[in-house]
Symmetry: C2
Subunit: 133 residues, 2 copies
Amino acid sequence: MSEIKYNTKQREEILSLLRNNRTRCLTAREICGSVKAGEATVFRTLSALVKEGVVSKFLSGDAPTYQFNECGTHHEHIHLKCSECGKLIHSDCSFIEELEEHFEKDHNFRVDRSKTVIYGICSECAESEGKNG
Amino acid sequence: MSEIKYNTKQREEILSLLRNNRTRCLTAREICGSVKAGEATVFRTLSALVKEGVVSKFLSGDAPTYQFNECGTHHEHIHLKCSECGKLIHSDCSFIEELEEHFEKDHNFRVDRSKTVIYGICSECAESEGKNG
DNA sequence: GTAGATGCAAACTTTTTGCAGACTG
DNA sequence: CAGTCTGCAAAAAGTTTGCATCTAC
């Protein structure tokens, strides 16, 4: 199954969940847990939605995550991941355009922001490190 | 096991394989197939090597891949990785400082450039894509 | 009515864990 | 010799597949 032809409750539910959590990245597991649909259906549907471009798949962490894609418009965020606490931060800042432009122009390298993750230490962890260690 | 204390044949072999293929990214499966060591050992050793910074782990494709990190010690550049051909580019440009400064100031996030990999398409692959499809 | 979607369960892939025995320093 | 590392096999986690049944159009 690579193209969806029928609208079903399961598909609606999955899409709805993603749409209502557009700011978050959900794992397949989370989606399975929140939706009345078998895992096979969840995977098949997600796979189709990604192919359709309605949903984006990220490989940032341990397990892939899925996120509703606002028609590929202004969801211009890049992922920051804290090496300390593992938190994934969605940075919605316009610096990403600058970043893409730089690598495009000066390095002839077309950045794929959906795959890119910037690792580092988040403010909270930096603080507690400053205190404790 | 998080730190390696003894030198063993298995570790040597794994490191040697990675060192001799520094331009390539190897999956755990490939390493298992090329080395006289059980898979548990391969995973444990790779995990330790990554923690030590000797080897980098990439999440670009279906399965994570491992690559020898030539500059384990001095991290004065950031890594660009082509999702297409797998090439790892060491970008020594001063934009990195800009990048770090931005995330530090505007996001309170201290970038760790040794772990960060920017994914995208390199100039050569972009070219051949333009020609072929 | 029919092509397409679902759910279950089983298979598959990748990675982790437990433990007895072997090895390093 | 003691603390580590290894290999096996079993388990866990994530994902895919086969097939009979059900559903959207």
